[in-house]
Symmetry: C2
Subunit: 277 residues, 2 copies
Amino acid sequence: MKDKHTIPRVAYLGPEGTFSGQAAKKFFGQNAIYKSLSSIQDVFEAVDLKEILYGVVPVENSIEGSVNVTLDLLRMSNLKIYGEIEEKIKHNLIASPGTKKHDLKVVISHQQALAQCRKYLKEQFPRVKVKQTDSTALAVRKVRTLKYAAAIGTEFAAKVYGMKIVAREIGDYSNNFTRFFVLSSNDFKPTGNDKTSIMFSAKHVPGALFKALEPFASRNINLSKIESRPLRQKPWEYVFFVEFKGHRRDSKCKEALQSLKKNCEFLKVLGSYRRAI
Amino acid sequence: MKDKHTIPRVAYLGPEGTFSGQAAKKFFGQNAIYKSLSSIQDVFEAVDLKEILYGVVPVENSIEGSVNVTLDLLRMSNLKIYGEIEEKIKHNLIASPGTKKHDLKVVISHQQALAQCRKYLKEQFPRVKVKQTDSTALAVRKVRTLKYAAAIGTEFAAKVYGMKIVAREIGDYSNNFTRFFVLSSNDFKPTGNDKTSIMFSAKHVPGALFKALEPFASRNINLSKIESRPLRQKPWEYVFFVEFKGHRRDSKCKEALQSLKKNCEFLKVLGSYRRAI
Protein backbone atom coordinates (compact mmCIF):
# COMPACT_ATOMS: atom_id res chain seq x y z
CA MET A 1 0.00 0.00 0.00
CA LYS A 2 1.37 3.43 -0.94
CA ASP A 3 -0.72 5.12 1.70
CA LYS A 4 -1.13 3.24 4.94
CA HIS A 5 -4.42 4.95 5.61
CA THR A 6 -6.05 3.86 2.36
CA ILE A 7 -8.88 1.42 2.98
CA PRO A 8 -7.85 -1.85 1.29
CA ARG A 9 -9.98 -3.42 -1.41
CA VAL A 10 -10.52 -7.15 -0.96
CA ALA A 11 -11.95 -9.58 -3.52
CA TYR A 12 -13.33 -12.99 -2.56
CA LEU A 13 -15.02 -15.98 -4.18
CA GLY A 14 -18.67 -14.94 -4.11
CA PRO A 15 -21.55 -14.39 -4.26
CA GLU A 16 -22.21 -12.58 -0.98
CA GLY A 17 -22.74 -15.04 1.85
CA THR A 18 -20.08 -17.64 0.90
CA PHE A 19 -17.58 -19.06 3.37
CA SER A 20 -14.85 -17.17 1.44
CA GLY A 21 -16.65 -13.90 2.18
CA GLN A 22 -16.97 -14.84 5.85
CA ALA A 23 -13.22 -15.66 5.94
CA ALA A 24 -12.28 -12.36 4.24
CA LYS A 25 -14.27 -10.38 6.83
CA LYS A 26 -12.62 -12.31 9.66
CA PHE A 27 -9.16 -11.34 8.35
CA PHE A 28 -9.73 -7.71 7.28
CA GLY A 29 -12.62 -6.69 9.55
CA GLN A 30 -14.78 -3.62 8.99
CA ASN A 31 -12.02 -1.45 7.55
CA ALA A 32 -12.08 -2.81 4.01
CA ILE A 33 -14.10 -2.55 0.82
CA TYR A 34 -15.26 -6.01 -0.30
CA LYS A 35 -16.00 -7.23 -3.79
CA SER A 36 -17.41 -10.68 -4.53
CA LEU A 37 -16.24 -12.31 -7.78
CA SER A 38 -17.71 -15.34 -9.49
CA SER A 39 -14.70 -17.69 -9.75
CA ILE A 40 -11.36 -18.42 -8.09
CA GLN A 41 -9.67 -17.50 -11.37
CA ASP A 42 -11.40 -14.09 -11.38
CA VAL A 43 -10.02 -13.40 -7.88
CA PHE A 44 -6.46 -14.25 -9.00
CA GLU A 45 -6.83 -12.03 -12.08
CA ALA A 46 -8.24 -9.04 -10.22
CA VAL A 47 -5.29 -9.06 -7.79
CA ASP A 48 -2.77 -9.78 -10.56
CA LEU A 49 -4.04 -6.81 -12.63
CA LYS A 50 -3.81 -4.69 -9.47
CA GLU A 51 -7.53 -3.83 -9.72
CA ILE A 52 -7.69 -4.96 -6.13
CA LEU A 53 -5.06 -5.30 -3.38
CA TYR A 54 -6.02 -8.62 -1.76
CA GLY A 55 -7.89 -11.74 -2.82
CA VAL A 56 -9.37 -14.47 -0.59
CA VAL A 57 -9.78 -17.99 -2.00
CA PRO A 58 -10.31 -21.46 -0.45
CA VAL A 59 -7.27 -23.76 -0.59
CA GLU A 60 -8.20 -26.82 1.44
CA ASN A 61 -11.04 -28.46 3.36
CA SER A 62 -10.39 -30.88 6.22
CA ILE A 63 -12.90 -33.41 4.82
CA GLU A 64 -12.68 -32.97 1.03
CA GLY A 65 -8.97 -32.13 0.66
CA SER A 66 -7.23 -29.55 -1.50
CA VAL A 67 -8.94 -27.14 -3.87
CA ASN A 68 -7.04 -28.12 -7.01
CA VAL A 69 -7.95 -24.99 -8.98
CA THR A 70 -6.27 -22.84 -6.32
CA LEU A 71 -3.10 -24.97 -6.26
CA ASP A 72 -2.85 -24.96 -10.07
CA LEU A 73 -3.38 -21.18 -10.26
CA LEU A 74 -0.74 -20.59 -7.55
CA ARG A 75 1.70 -22.49 -9.72
CA MET A 76 1.07 -20.31 -12.79
CA SER A 77 0.56 -16.95 -11.08
CA ASN A 78 3.04 -14.37 -9.77
CA LEU A 79 0.93 -13.64 -6.70
CA LYS A 80 2.20 -14.35 -3.19
CA ILE A 81 0.45 -15.81 -0.18
CA TYR A 82 -0.01 -12.93 2.26
CA GLY A 83 -2.11 -14.67 4.91
CA GLU A 84 -3.98 -17.77 5.98
CA ILE A 85 -7.51 -18.01 7.48
CA GLU A 86 -9.28 -20.99 9.05
CA GLU A 87 -13.07 -21.14 9.21
CA LYS A 88 -15.22 -23.77 10.88
CA ILE A 89 -17.78 -24.91 8.32
CA LYS A 90 -21.26 -24.85 9.83
CA HIS A 91 -24.03 -26.01 7.52
CA ASN A 92 -27.55 -24.73 8.20
CA LEU A 93 -30.89 -25.63 6.67
CA ILE A 94 -32.38 -22.36 5.39
CA ALA A 95 -35.80 -21.54 3.97
CA SER A 96 -38.26 -18.69 3.40
CA PRO A 97 -39.95 -17.48 6.57
CA GLY A 98 -43.10 -19.53 7.05
CA THR A 99 -41.75 -22.68 5.40
CA LYS A 100 -42.41 -25.72 7.58
CA LYS A 101 -40.01 -28.65 7.93
CA HIS A 102 -42.61 -31.29 7.08
CA ASP A 103 -43.55 -29.44 3.87
CA LEU A 104 -40.07 -29.70 2.36
CA LYS A 105 -39.85 -31.44 -1.01
CA VAL A 106 -36.43 -30.32 -2.24
CA VAL A 107 -33.09 -29.27 -0.71
CA ILE A 108 -30.61 -27.31 -2.84
CA SER A 109 -26.94 -26.47 -2.28
CA HIS A 110 -23.37 -26.80 -3.52
CA GLN A 111 -22.37 -30.40 -4.20
CA GLN A 112 -19.85 -30.47 -1.30
CA ALA A 113 -22.38 -29.11 1.19
CA LEU A 114 -24.95 -31.70 0.09
CA ALA A 115 -22.34 -34.47 0.42
CA GLN A 116 -21.35 -33.27 3.88
CA CYS A 117 -24.98 -33.34 5.12
CA ARG A 118 -25.88 -36.67 3.46
CA LYS A 119 -26.45 -38.57 6.70
CA TYR A 120 -28.60 -35.78 8.20
CA LEU A 121 -30.75 -35.49 5.06
CA LYS A 122 -31.17 -39.27 4.82
CA GLU A 123 -32.32 -39.52 8.45
CA GLN A 124 -34.47 -36.40 8.65
CA PHE A 125 -35.77 -36.09 5.09
CA PRO A 126 -35.58 -39.52 3.44
CA ARG A 127 -38.01 -38.56 0.67
CA VAL A 128 -36.71 -35.09 -0.15
CA LYS A 129 -34.97 -34.50 -3.53
CA VAL A 130 -31.55 -32.86 -3.62
CA LYS A 131 -30.42 -30.48 -6.37
CA GLN A 132 -27.01 -28.89 -7.00
CA THR A 133 -26.15 -25.19 -7.26
CA ASP A 134 -22.80 -23.49 -7.99
CA SER A 135 -22.37 -22.23 -4.39
CA THR A 136 -24.11 -22.41 -1.03
CA ALA A 137 -24.84 -18.68 -1.22
CA LEU A 138 -26.54 -19.06 -4.61
CA ALA A 139 -28.72 -21.79 -3.11
CA VAL A 140 -29.87 -19.46 -0.32
CA ARG A 141 -30.56 -16.66 -2.82
CA LYS A 142 -32.50 -19.03 -5.07
CA VAL A 143 -34.59 -20.56 -2.29
CA ARG A 144 -36.34 -17.21 -1.78
CA THR A 145 -38.37 -17.83 -4.92
CA LEU A 146 -39.02 -21.55 -4.44
CA LYS A 147 -41.93 -23.26 -2.68
CA TYR A 148 -41.44 -26.25 -0.35
CA ALA A 149 -37.67 -25.86 -0.73
CA ALA A 150 -34.73 -25.33 1.62
CA ALA A 151 -31.06 -24.48 1.00
CA ILE A 152 -27.95 -25.53 2.88
CA GLY A 153 -25.80 -22.47 3.59
CA THR A 154 -24.16 -20.07 6.02
CA GLU A 155 -25.88 -18.13 8.77
CA PHE A 156 -24.55 -14.98 7.11
CA ALA A 157 -26.22 -15.87 3.78
CA ALA A 158 -29.53 -16.40 5.61
CA LYS A 159 -29.22 -12.87 7.02
CA VAL A 160 -28.14 -11.28 3.69
CA TYR A 161 -31.09 -12.78 1.79
CA GLY A 162 -33.68 -12.39 4.59
CA MET A 163 -34.18 -16.13 5.01
CA LYS A 164 -34.89 -18.22 8.13
CA ILE A 165 -32.69 -20.92 9.65
CA VAL A 166 -34.82 -24.06 9.94
CA ALA A 167 -32.07 -26.22 11.53
CA ARG A 168 -28.54 -25.34 12.69
CA GLU A 169 -25.26 -27.23 12.20
CA ILE A 170 -26.64 -30.15 10.23
CA GLY A 171 -23.24 -31.32 8.90
CA ASP A 172 -22.22 -34.97 9.34
CA TYR A 173 -18.62 -34.12 10.33
CA SER A 174 -17.75 -32.18 13.45
CA ASN A 175 -14.15 -31.58 12.28
CA ASN A 176 -15.12 -29.60 9.23
CA PHE A 177 -12.80 -26.66 8.58
CA THR A 178 -11.75 -24.78 5.47
CA ARG A 179 -8.41 -22.98 5.03
CA PHE A 180 -8.28 -19.87 2.88
CA PHE A 181 -5.32 -17.99 1.44
CA VAL A 182 -5.08 -14.22 1.25
CA LEU A 183 -3.30 -13.41 -2.03
CA SER A 184 -1.39 -10.21 -2.76
CA SER A 185 1.66 -8.94 -4.72
CA ASN A 186 3.87 -9.57 -1.68
CA ASP A 187 3.93 -12.03 1.16
CA PHE A 188 4.04 -11.11 4.88
CA LYS A 189 6.95 -10.06 7.12
CA PRO A 190 8.31 -12.49 9.76
CA THR A 191 6.18 -12.53 12.93
CA GLY A 192 7.83 -15.42 14.82
CA ASN A 193 4.83 -17.68 14.17
CA ASP A 194 4.92 -18.28 10.44
CA LYS A 195 4.38 -20.82 7.73
CA THR A 196 5.88 -21.00 4.22
CA SER A 197 4.34 -22.58 1.11
CA ILE A 198 6.50 -23.77 -1.78
CA MET A 199 6.16 -25.75 -5.00
CA PHE A 200 8.84 -27.89 -6.59
CA SER A 201 9.30 -30.74 -9.00
CA ALA A 202 11.70 -33.52 -8.07
CA LYS A 203 14.05 -35.18 -10.53
CA HIS A 204 12.56 -38.35 -12.08
CA VAL A 205 14.94 -40.81 -10.35
CA PRO A 206 14.52 -43.24 -7.40
CA GLY A 207 14.73 -41.45 -4.06
CA ALA A 208 14.29 -37.96 -5.56
CA LEU A 209 11.43 -36.95 -3.25
CA PHE A 210 13.26 -38.41 -0.26
CA LYS A 211 16.34 -36.30 -1.10
CA ALA A 212 14.16 -33.22 -1.58
CA LEU A 213 12.73 -33.58 1.94
CA GLU A 214 16.13 -34.21 3.58
CA PRO A 215 17.04 -30.49 4.04
CA PHE A 216 13.87 -30.04 6.13
CA ALA A 217 14.17 -33.25 8.17
CA SER A 218 17.86 -32.66 9.02
CA ARG A 219 17.00 -29.16 10.31
CA ASN A 220 13.98 -30.34 12.28
CA ILE A 221 11.63 -28.20 10.19
CA ASN A 222 8.09 -29.56 10.46
CA LEU A 223 6.27 -30.11 7.16
CA SER A 224 2.58 -29.39 7.74
CA LYS A 225 1.39 -30.48 4.29
CA ILE A 226 2.57 -32.23 1.15
CA GLU A 227 0.34 -32.58 -1.88
CA SER A 228 1.05 -33.55 -5.48
CA ARG A 229 -0.47 -32.12 -8.66
CA PRO A 230 0.05 -33.32 -12.24
CA LEU A 231 2.92 -31.62 -14.10
CA ARG A 232 0.61 -31.65 -17.20
CA GLN A 233 3.42 -31.35 -19.80
CA LYS A 234 4.47 -34.94 -19.00
CA PRO A 235 1.87 -37.55 -17.98
CA TRP A 236 2.39 -39.16 -14.54
CA GLU A 237 5.00 -36.63 -13.40
CA TYR A 238 4.15 -34.31 -10.54
CA VAL A 239 4.64 -30.93 -8.91
CA PHE A 240 4.82 -31.07 -5.12
CA PHE A 241 3.10 -28.46 -3.00
CA VAL A 242 4.73 -28.37 0.43
CA GLU A 243 4.18 -26.26 3.56
CA PHE A 244 6.47 -25.96 6.54
CA LYS A 245 6.67 -24.03 9.78
CA GLY A 246 8.90 -20.96 9.72
CA HIS A 247 9.48 -17.88 7.51
CA ARG A 248 11.53 -18.05 4.31
CA ARG A 249 13.80 -15.36 5.82
CA ASP A 250 14.54 -17.42 9.01
CA SER A 251 18.12 -18.68 8.70
CA LYS A 252 17.17 -22.39 9.12
CA CYS A 253 14.47 -22.19 6.46
CA LYS A 254 16.71 -20.16 4.13
CA GLU A 255 19.40 -22.87 4.30
CA ALA A 256 16.84 -25.64 3.68
CA LEU A 257 15.44 -23.83 0.63
CA GLN A 258 18.95 -23.29 -0.79
CA SER A 259 19.75 -26.96 -0.31
CA LEU A 260 16.41 -28.06 -1.87
CA LYS A 261 17.07 -25.83 -4.91
CA LYS A 262 20.19 -27.86 -5.73
CA ASN A 263 18.25 -31.14 -5.54
CA CYS A 264 15.13 -30.34 -7.56
CA GLU A 265 14.20 -29.40 -11.11
CA PHE A 266 12.35 -26.22 -10.25
CA LEU A 267 11.43 -24.43 -7.04
CA LYS A 268 8.95 -21.62 -6.44
CA VAL A 269 8.42 -19.99 -3.05
CA LEU A 270 4.74 -19.06 -2.88
CA GLY A 271 5.10 -16.98 0.25
CA SER A 272 5.54 -16.82 4.01
CA TYR A 273 2.70 -15.69 6.24
CA ARG A 274 1.44 -15.69 9.83
CA ARG A 275 0.11 -19.11 10.84
CA ALA A 276 -3.61 -19.40 11.51
CA ILE A 277 -3.44 -23.17 12.19
CA MET B 1 -12.60 -67.80 -9.74
CA LYS B 2 -13.73 -71.26 -8.74
CA ASP B 3 -14.06 -72.36 -12.35
CA LYS B 4 -11.43 -71.04 -14.71
CA HIS B 5 -13.79 -71.33 -17.66
CA THR B 6 -16.51 -69.16 -16.15
CA ILE B 7 -16.91 -65.91 -18.07
CA PRO B 8 -16.07 -63.13 -15.59
CA ARG B 9 -18.57 -60.40 -14.76
CA VAL B 10 -17.15 -56.88 -14.83
CA ALA B 11 -18.77 -53.72 -13.48
CA TYR B 12 -17.66 -50.23 -14.54
CA LEU B 13 -18.58 -46.61 -13.98
CA GLY B 14 -21.31 -46.09 -16.58
CA PRO B 15 -23.45 -45.42 -18.46
CA GLU B 16 -22.42 -47.29 -21.60
CA GLY B 17 -19.91 -45.30 -23.64
CA THR B 18 -17.80 -43.87 -20.78
CA PHE B 19 -14.00 -43.99 -20.69
CA SER B 20 -14.31 -46.50 -17.80
CA GLY B 21 -16.27 -48.85 -20.05
CA GLN B 22 -13.68 -48.45 -22.81
CA ALA B 23 -10.89 -49.24 -20.28
CA ALA B 24 -12.74 -52.31 -18.95
CA LYS B 25 -13.09 -53.70 -22.47
CA LYS B 26 -9.39 -53.08 -23.16
CA PHE B 27 -8.45 -55.13 -20.06
CA PHE B 28 -10.98 -57.99 -20.26
CA GLY B 29 -11.71 -58.13 -24.00
CA GLN B 30 -14.70 -59.95 -25.52
CA ASN B 31 -14.74 -62.78 -23.01
CA ALA B 32 -16.58 -60.97 -20.21
CA ILE B 33 -20.07 -59.89 -19.24
CA TYR B 34 -20.18 -56.14 -18.63
CA LYS B 35 -22.45 -54.16 -16.36
CA SER B 36 -22.47 -50.35 -16.15
CA LEU B 37 -23.21 -48.84 -12.73
CA SER B 38 -24.07 -45.25 -11.95
CA SER B 39 -21.39 -44.31 -9.40
CA ILE B 40 -17.87 -45.25 -8.29
CA GLN B 41 -19.33 -46.24 -4.91
CA ASP B 42 -21.79 -48.62 -6.61
CA VAL B 43 -18.89 -50.35 -8.39
CA PHE B 44 -17.03 -50.82 -5.08
CA GLU B 45 -20.18 -52.18 -3.41
CA ALA B 46 -21.04 -54.63 -6.20
CA VAL B 47 -17.56 -56.19 -6.04
CA ASP B 48 -17.50 -56.10 -2.24
CA LEU B 49 -20.84 -57.93 -2.04
CA LYS B 50 -19.47 -60.46 -4.57
CA GLU B 51 -22.35 -59.70 -6.96
CA ILE B 52 -19.62 -59.18 -9.51
CA LEU B 53 -15.99 -60.36 -9.74
CA TYR B 54 -14.21 -57.26 -11.03
CA GLY B 55 -14.84 -53.50 -10.96
CA VAL B 56 -13.24 -50.81 -13.13
CA VAL B 57 -13.02 -47.25 -11.79
CA PRO B 58 -10.95 -44.16 -12.72
CA VAL B 59 -8.19 -43.27 -10.23
CA GLU B 60 -6.22 -40.47 -11.84
CA ASN B 61 -6.09 -38.16 -14.86
CA SER B 62 -2.83 -36.69 -16.12
CA ILE B 63 -4.34 -33.18 -16.33
CA GLU B 64 -6.87 -33.06 -13.47
CA GLY B 65 -5.08 -35.25 -10.91
CA SER B 66 -6.44 -37.92 -8.59
CA VAL B 67 -10.06 -39.03 -8.37
CA ASN B 68 -10.52 -38.41 -4.65
CA VAL B 69 -13.65 -40.55 -4.32
CA THR B 70 -11.70 -43.58 -5.51
CA LEU B 71 -8.78 -42.94 -3.11
CA ASP B 72 -11.15 -42.43 -0.17
CA LEU B 73 -13.12 -45.61 -0.99
CA LEU B 74 -9.88 -47.64 -1.33
CA ARG B 75 -9.01 -46.54 2.18
CA MET B 76 -12.30 -47.79 3.65
CA SER B 77 -12.83 -50.89 1.52
CA ASN B 78 -11.43 -54.42 1.77
CA LEU B 79 -11.03 -54.72 -1.99
CA LYS B 80 -7.62 -55.14 -3.61
CA ILE B 81 -6.18 -53.62 -6.76
CA TYR B 82 -6.01 -56.41 -9.32
CA GLY B 83 -4.92 -54.42 -12.36
CA GLU B 84 -4.16 -51.04 -13.88
CA ILE B 85 -5.31 -49.65 -17.26
CA GLU B 86 -4.22 -46.50 -19.08
CA GLU B 87 -6.47 -44.87 -21.67
CA LYS B 88 -5.67 -41.90 -23.90
CA ILE B 89 -8.53 -39.44 -23.50
CA LYS B 90 -9.78 -38.31 -26.92
CA HIS B 91 -12.60 -35.78 -26.84
CA ASN B 92 -14.90 -35.64 -29.88
CA LEU B 93 -17.68 -33.24 -30.79
CA ILE B 94 -20.77 -35.38 -31.37
CA ALA B 95 -24.22 -34.52 -32.72
CA SER B 96 -27.31 -36.01 -34.39
CA PRO B 97 -26.77 -36.93 -38.03
CA GLY B 98 -27.62 -33.89 -40.13
CA THR B 99 -26.60 -31.32 -37.51
CA LYS B 100 -24.36 -28.67 -39.04
CA LYS B 101 -21.43 -27.04 -37.22
CA HIS B 102 -22.61 -23.47 -37.88
CA ASP B 103 -26.07 -24.25 -36.44
CA LEU B 104 -24.75 -25.19 -33.01
CA LYS B 105 -26.13 -23.18 -30.09
CA VAL B 106 -25.21 -25.36 -27.13
CA VAL B 107 -22.48 -27.88 -26.22
CA ILE B 108 -23.10 -30.32 -23.35
CA SER B 109 -20.74 -32.66 -21.48
CA HIS B 110 -19.16 -33.59 -18.17
CA GLN B 111 -17.51 -30.65 -16.40
CA GLN B 112 -13.97 -32.03 -16.88
CA ALA B 113 -14.47 -32.65 -20.60
CA LEU B 114 -15.81 -29.10 -21.05
CA ALA B 115 -12.82 -27.72 -19.11
CA GLN B 116 -10.39 -29.75 -21.21
CA CYS B 117 -11.85 -28.40 -24.48
CA ARG B 118 -12.19 -24.80 -23.30
CA LYS B 119 -9.64 -23.35 -25.75
CA TYR B 120 -11.15 -25.23 -28.71
CA LEU B 121 -14.70 -24.13 -27.88
CA LYS B 122 -13.61 -20.51 -27.37
CA GLU B 123 -11.85 -20.39 -30.73
CA GLN B 124 -14.34 -22.39 -32.82
CA PHE B 125 -17.65 -21.58 -31.11
CA PRO B 126 -17.22 -18.32 -29.20
CA ARG B 127 -20.99 -17.75 -28.93
CA VAL B 128 -22.11 -21.27 -28.06
CA LYS B 129 -23.46 -21.97 -24.55
CA VAL B 130 -21.98 -24.82 -22.49
CA LYS B 131 -24.03 -26.99 -20.12
CA GLN B 132 -22.93 -29.70 -17.66
CA THR B 133 -24.02 -33.33 -17.51
CA ASP B 134 -23.05 -36.10 -15.06
CA SER B 135 -20.91 -37.99 -17.61
CA THR B 136 -19.73 -37.65 -21.21
CA ALA B 137 -21.81 -40.69 -22.18
CA LEU B 138 -24.98 -39.13 -20.74
CA ALA B 139 -24.29 -36.03 -22.82
CA VAL B 140 -24.11 -38.11 -26.01
CA ARG B 141 -27.32 -39.95 -25.08
CA LYS B 142 -29.09 -36.68 -24.32
CA VAL B 143 -27.98 -34.90 -27.49
CA ARG B 144 -30.09 -37.30 -29.57
CA THR B 145 -33.21 -35.43 -28.49
CA LEU B 146 -31.81 -31.89 -28.65
CA LYS B 147 -31.82 -29.47 -31.59
CA TYR B 148 -28.77 -27.33 -32.47
CA ALA B 149 -26.78 -29.13 -29.78
CA ALA B 150 -23.58 -31.17 -29.66
CA ALA B 151 -22.00 -33.31 -26.94
CA ILE B 152 -18.34 -33.91 -26.09
CA GLY B 153 -17.73 -37.64 -25.70
CA THR B 154 -16.03 -40.84 -26.81
CA GLU B 155 -16.09 -42.34 -30.29
CA PHE B 156 -17.61 -45.45 -28.72
CA ALA B 157 -20.51 -43.46 -27.22
CA ALA B 158 -21.19 -41.93 -30.65
CA LYS B 159 -21.48 -45.47 -32.06
CA VAL B 160 -23.62 -46.80 -29.18
CA TYR B 161 -26.15 -43.98 -29.46
CA GLY B 162 -26.09 -43.72 -33.29
CA MET B 163 -24.67 -40.21 -33.32
CA LYS B 164 -22.21 -38.54 -35.72
CA ILE B 165 -18.72 -37.23 -34.93
CA VAL B 166 -18.64 -33.59 -36.05
CA ALA B 167 -14.99 -32.99 -35.05
CA ARG B 168 -12.33 -35.38 -33.72
CA GLU B 169 -9.79 -34.94 -30.90
CA ILE B 170 -10.81 -31.44 -29.87
CA GLY B 171 -9.06 -31.53 -26.47
CA ASP B 172 -6.65 -28.71 -25.51
CA TYR B 173 -4.06 -31.10 -24.03
CA SER B 174 -2.23 -33.72 -26.07
CA ASN B 175 -0.94 -35.50 -22.94
CA ASN B 176 -4.38 -36.42 -21.66
CA PHE B 177 -4.50 -39.90 -20.13
CA THR B 178 -6.64 -41.52 -17.44
CA ARG B 179 -5.54 -44.39 -15.23
CA PHE B 180 -8.10 -46.93 -14.08
CA PHE B 181 -7.92 -49.58 -11.39
CA VAL B 182 -9.40 -53.05 -11.70
CA LEU B 183 -10.75 -53.99 -8.26
CA SER B 184 -11.29 -57.51 -6.98
CA SER B 185 -11.16 -59.56 -3.74
CA ASN B 186 -7.49 -60.38 -4.42
CA ASP B 187 -4.58 -58.64 -6.06
CA PHE B 188 -2.43 -60.12 -8.86
CA LYS B 189 0.47 -62.57 -8.77
CA PRO B 190 4.05 -61.35 -9.41
CA THR B 191 4.80 -60.95 -13.13
CA GLY B 192 8.24 -59.33 -12.97
CA ASN B 193 6.83 -55.96 -14.10
CA ASP B 194 4.66 -54.88 -11.21
CA LYS B 195 3.54 -51.94 -9.15
CA THR B 196 2.25 -51.82 -5.56
CA SER B 197 -0.13 -49.26 -4.03
CA ILE B 198 -0.20 -48.61 -0.28
CA MET B 199 -1.74 -46.16 2.18
CA PHE B 200 -0.22 -45.06 5.45
CA SER B 201 -0.39 -42.28 8.00
CA ALA B 202 2.88 -40.89 9.34
CA LYS B 203 3.42 -39.95 12.98
CA HIS B 204 2.72 -36.27 13.67
CA VAL B 205 6.37 -35.25 14.35
CA PRO B 206 9.00 -33.38 12.28
CA GLY B 207 10.62 -35.60 9.66
CA ALA B 208 7.97 -38.34 9.92
CA LEU B 209 7.24 -38.49 6.18
CA PHE B 210 10.98 -38.37 5.42
CA LYS B 211 11.53 -41.36 7.74
CA ALA B 212 8.60 -43.20 6.15
CA LEU B 213 10.15 -42.86 2.68
CA GLU B 214 13.65 -43.92 3.81
CA PRO B 215 13.05 -47.72 3.49
CA PHE B 216 12.23 -47.20 -0.21
CA ALA B 217 15.05 -44.75 -1.01
CA SER B 218 17.70 -46.89 0.71
CA ARG B 219 16.61 -49.91 -1.37
CA ASN B 220 16.47 -47.93 -4.62
CA ILE B 221 12.73 -48.60 -4.97
CA ASN B 222 11.21 -45.99 -7.28
CA LEU B 223 8.09 -44.22 -5.97
CA SER B 224 5.85 -43.50 -8.93
CA LYS B 225 3.25 -41.50 -7.00
CA ILE B 226 2.62 -39.87 -3.63
CA GLU B 227 -0.65 -38.17 -2.83
CA SER B 228 -2.19 -37.00 0.43
CA ARG B 229 -5.82 -37.18 1.52
CA PRO B 230 -7.37 -35.72 4.70
CA LEU B 231 -7.45 -38.10 7.68
CA ARG B 232 -10.94 -36.64 8.47
CA GLN B 233 -10.96 -37.64 12.16
CA LYS B 234 -8.34 -34.93 12.85
CA PRO B 235 -8.28 -31.72 10.82
CA TRP B 236 -5.04 -31.03 8.88
CA GLU B 237 -3.65 -34.53 9.34
CA TYR B 238 -3.23 -36.76 6.31
CA VAL B 239 -3.22 -40.26 4.90
CA PHE B 240 -0.56 -40.82 2.25
CA PHE B 241 -1.30 -42.82 -0.85
CA VAL B 242 1.98 -44.11 -2.31
CA GLU B 243 2.85 -46.29 -5.32
CA PHE B 244 6.16 -47.96 -6.06
CA LYS B 245 7.64 -50.30 -8.62
CA GLY B 246 7.78 -53.97 -7.63
CA HIS B 247 5.47 -56.61 -6.12
CA ARG B 248 4.72 -56.77 -2.38
CA ARG B 249 6.11 -60.34 -2.44
CA ASP B 250 9.48 -59.28 -3.96
CA SER B 251 12.06 -59.53 -1.16
CA LYS B 252 13.23 -55.89 -1.50
CA CYS B 253 9.65 -54.57 -1.36
CA LYS B 254 8.75 -56.91 1.50
CA GLU B 255 11.65 -55.56 3.59
CA ALA B 256 10.74 -51.96 2.80
CA LEU B 257 7.11 -52.54 3.84
CA GLN B 258 8.18 -54.21 7.10
CA SER B 259 10.47 -51.30 7.88
CA LEU B 260 7.77 -48.73 7.01
CA LYS B 261 5.30 -50.50 9.30
CA LYS B 262 7.55 -49.79 12.31
CA ASN B 263 7.76 -46.10 11.41
CA CYS B 264 4.13 -45.23 10.71
CA GLU B 265 0.82 -45.14 12.55
CA PHE B 266 -1.08 -47.38 10.19
CA LEU B 267 -0.26 -49.15 6.93
CA LYS B 268 -2.56 -50.79 4.40
CA VAL B 269 -1.32 -52.59 1.29
CA LEU B 270 -3.92 -51.97 -1.42
CA GLY B 271 -2.47 -54.49 -3.82
CA SER B 272 0.23 -55.43 -6.31
CA TYR B 273 -0.57 -55.67 -10.01
CA ARG B 274 1.01 -55.73 -13.47
CA ARG B 275 2.19 -52.25 -14.51
CA ALA B 276 0.39 -50.62 -17.42
CA ILE B 277 2.42 -47.39 -17.20
